[in-house]
């Protein structure tokens, strides 16, 4: 939902106070580049869209369906590489060839609470696109792939990795 009005910060610093005669008394202030967030598009991706829908609230021990719908820019085959975290009950590493309009169904059986991911990579002849679909089970903490935890050393947060 957009804001009713977004005024650039710099412009907000450059407002005019209106005198009784209706003539603007202009006040200026040092201005910087407008504090608009600059964000690049990110890297290029294949023209494929993956929509997903969970069949229910994921609960430990209860099967839940994850439906994936594929929309591609053309009717050429799309190779999906699907992998799921082992805590989602099935260690999947499988490939499926689909086309635009197809759907894929996965059944997850969460083993523990946490935030886990289903990873789907769509490979096309004109590029590829990766999707990571978060699956929140209960209120558990997110799974992490990191093997070194940060620590505070001399007031500085460091991820200390051992050299070979």
């Amino acid at each position: 939902m957009k804001k009713l009005r977004i005024i650039p910060l710099s412009a907000a610093l450059l407002f005019a106070a209106v005198s009784g005669s209706g003539v603007a008394e202009v006040r200026t202030a040092p201005t910087d580049k407008p504090e608009r967030v600059v964000k690049s598009s990110g890297k290029a991706r294949a023209p494929v869209t993956l929509e997903h829908r969970l069949g229910g609230v994921p609960v430990v021990g209860m099967p839940v369906e994850l439906a994936l719908g594929i929309t591609a820019g053309d009717d050429k085959p799309v190779l999906l590489e699907i992998s799921t975290d082992e805590n989602l009950g099935v260690v999947r590493r499988e490939r499926r060839q689909v086309r635009s309009g197809d759907s894929v169904s996965l059944v997850l059986v969460p083993r523990t609470e946490g935030r886990f991911y289903v990873n789907v990579v769509a490979l096309m002849d004109v590029g590829a696109r990766a999707y990571s679909i978060p699956v929140q089970v209960g209120k558990g903490q997110p799974a992490t792939a990191r093997k070194v935890s940060a620590e505070t050393v001399g007031g500085e947060r460091l991820v200390r990795m051992k050299a070979e």
Binding site: I6, A24, P30, K33, K43, A130, S132
Partner: protein, 656 residues
């Protein structure tokens, strides 16, 4: 102090005075202050509103400390608190004014700190005069300063660089290389007290050398950080966004320095154990840092004194394409962003079996190219998703094309390879030397990357017979385009490049025309362009005319599957060229159908302001300087996932 921020004379932005009337003004008044009408008081060719010394002539606009006040009128050119007249290093910050030899030249800018005629860089006692450089024990420390209580710990820092398979574009772990960690900060730490005993940096071969006390238990720490003050200068670090932006460091085992010099090499391994990342991915932060430095080298090659504003690279093995909480790694994609005035970041994907980018050096440098746009040139892109063959907003097409072309130039390799999938074994490539782009034109990132790369590279292929090198392109991006009124697009780039390199004009035209852009006819606004993307309407002219008091100009915003797409696709946002005849107040009105919601953005040498109240009529009053402006108009829903579709909008401007 004027209203500009400069980095080594490269203007980050010029925001001309735009003064909003209070909404309650009712249109009254129009003159505003007199500060907007005095064009160039010091006659140096830079208008006052853009001049970092409005009353002192300084055509170069040099500004050593990037404080927005030019050197010619700045009483403290290095912002160290010591006025230039009394500063022993006026252009290098040294608040302490240290001057070892008392020669009046501060140590930080004195190449011979002990006045013994031996330059510090080769002096075996840089702070003790010893012209004879006697070193009877040959330990590298001159007798004059050798206490016998120090030894040298030296070594090489390296990291695993996993290359790409040229057949699959995936990562080829079997062919992993060991590359030097270049220009990284290295510390020798006292293992007992955690005190930093020495801080040095690696050289271009990854070698470091530090003087440390004898018989002390220490370890060596290589920081994923590059820092250098002055010009050239940089400030780069790689942190873990999922661990409170903790800095990645590589540490040796603890060892006793003993009584003799010793060597401690450090290697950051990829962590790949054959079927997956079975151990710490220590090489990843250093691979990303090395790619960034490769990009910096290209800039330094044409501007040896370039100063790179702070850049933070955020990488984690948990960084995935999920969009949500970045502290969980849900970053959505690899991308560059600036928040606030100077918080520049590149976020990199790192999730195994999904998408990792730390070894995709072209991808990293592509994003560094966006950093370059923002810090050195113009970043007019609006972002958003993009794919090969998309017909894009010309700002996005140019920015993305620039990124891929720059990545190719920086590595002298036109092929971007992006690895992903199971074991990072799959991938795809983007070859900027491939001229056969799908849907070529001024709205194509493929066309933009082909054109930019071809005007730079030394290879002649197809219609490419020009080899300007990077320097002329750098000059256009950091000078001409940065000062150009319309947003940066292939039109402004080509027009200004040809103006600066007239002899190459015909050859440039050949490359550009090869991408279905009417190079010989266009100007910065794309006037004369005839490629309408095959639509016939609602695409050309690229910039419609808008004249104060001359009635309405009707433009149509497209959106949806039947058009080119939403948000950042072609003709979602339409552009109008607006000359403001005199400084004063103006009322803008954009009016669409009853169920529409037109919005307006003003530009002049960059973004000025956005006006987006809800409803079919957008109207606002502003005071503007005389000069040329660009008005961007669009139907709001067309930049969302629920587009209204083709929406025609009447735009008008009247004086107040």
């Amino acid at each position: 102090m004027d209203n500009r921020i400069l980095v080594r004379g490269h203007r980050l932005a010029t925001l001309v005075a735009i003064m909003l009337f209070a909404a309650a003004c009712g249109g009254g008044g129009g003159g505003g202050g007199d500060n907007t009408t005095n064009n160039d008081t010091d006659n140096d060719g830079i208008v006052n509103t853009a001049d970092n010394c409005p009353t002192t002539s300084n055509a170069s606009q040099a500004d050593n400390d990037a404080d927005g006040s030019g050197d010619a009128c700045d009483a403290d050119d290095d912002n160290d608190g010591a006025a230039d007249a009394a500063d022993n290093c006026p252009f290098i910050a040294n608040a302490g004014q240290e001057d070892n030899d008392g020669d009046g030249s501060g140590d930080l800018c004195d190449s011979d700190d002990d006045n013994d005629t031996v330059a510090d860089s080769s002096d075996n006692c840089p702070l003790v005069a010893n012209t004879d450089q006697a070193d009877s024990d040959g330990d590298g420390f001159g007798d004059a300063c050798d206490t016998g209580a120090n030894v040298v710990v030296s070594g090489k820092a390296t990291f695993d660089k996993v290359p790409h398979s040229t057949s699959t574009n995936g990562l080829d772990y079997i062919s992993t290389l060991s590359l030097p960690v270049r220009l990284a900060v290295v510390e020798v730490i006292d293992a007992a007290s955690a005190a930093v005993l020495a801080t040095v940096e690696t050289d271009s071969q990854g070698d470091y050398s530090a003087l440390v006390p004898t018989n002390t238990n220490v370890f060596v720490r290589v920081r994923a950080e590059m820092g250098r003050a002055g010009a050239p200068g940089w400030d780069l670090e790689v942190v873990d966004n999922t661990q409170g932006d903790a800095l990645y460091v590589l540490e040796s085992a603890t060892f006793d320095t003993g009584n003799a010099n010793s060597v401690r090499d450090l290697h950051a391994a990829s962590g790949w154990t054959g079927a997956g990342y079975g151990s710490t991915r220590a090489a990843a932060p250093f691979a990303a840092m090395d790619a960034i430095y490769t990009g910096m080298e290209s800039v330094l090659a044409v501007d040896p004194a370039a100063v790179f504003p702070r850049l933070t690279v955020k990488w984690s093995p948990d960084n995935s394409t999920a969009t949500g909480d970045e502290s969980l790694g849900e970053i959505g994609n690899t991308f560059f962003r600036r928040t606030g005035f100077d918080n520049r970041e590149i976020l990199l994907l790192g999730k195994e079996d999904s998408d990792t980018d730390e070894y995709d050096s072209h991808v990293v440098i592509h994003e560094f190219g966006h950093y370059f746009e923002d810090a050195f040139s113009r970043a007019d892109t609006i972002g958003g998703p993009h794919s090969s063959g998309d017909r894009l907003d010309p700002r996005v097409a140019f920015s993305e094309g620039w990124g891929y072309a720059f990545a190719g130039v920086a590595q002298d390799d036109p092929v971007t390879r992006d690895a992903l999938g199971f074991g990072q074994a799959s991938g795809f490539q983007i070859d900027v030397e491939d001229n056969s782009n799908l849907n070529p034109g001024w709205y194509s990132e493929g066309s933009a990357q082909t054109i930019i790369y071809d005007v730079i590279d030394s290879a002649s292929d197809g219609v490419d017979s020009v080899s300007l090198g990077f320097s002329p392109v750098f000059d256009v991006l950091t000078g001409n385009i940065d000062n150009s009124v319309p947003p940066a697009t292939i039109f402004s780039f080509i027009t200004l490049l040809k103006q600066a390199n007239p002899a190459a004009g015909p050859a440039i035209d050949a490359i550009v025309s090869g991408q279905s852009i009417d190079s010989a006819a266009i100007d910065e606004y794309g006037s004369g362009e005839t490629n309408d993307a095959g639509r016939g309407s609602d695409v050309l002219p690229v910039y419609s005319g808008l004249v104060v008091g001359a009635g309405v100009t009707n433009v149509c915003s497209l959106g949806g599957d039947s058009d080119f797409g939403t948000f950042n696709k072609l003709s979602v946002r339409r552009f109008l060229e607006l000359p403001i005849p005199s400084t004063g107040g103006y009322r803008f009105t954009a009016s669409g159908p009853a169920d529409s919601d037109p919005d307006v953005v003003l530009h002049r040498r960059g973004f000025l302001g956005i006006y987006e109240t809800i409803g079919p009529i957008e109207t606002f009053d502003v005071t503007l300087e005389a000069g040329d402006y660009v008005v961007e108009v669009y139907e709001f829903s067309n930049i969302t996932d629920t587009p209204r579709g083709r929406t025609c909008i009447d735009v008008s401007v009247v004086g107040l």
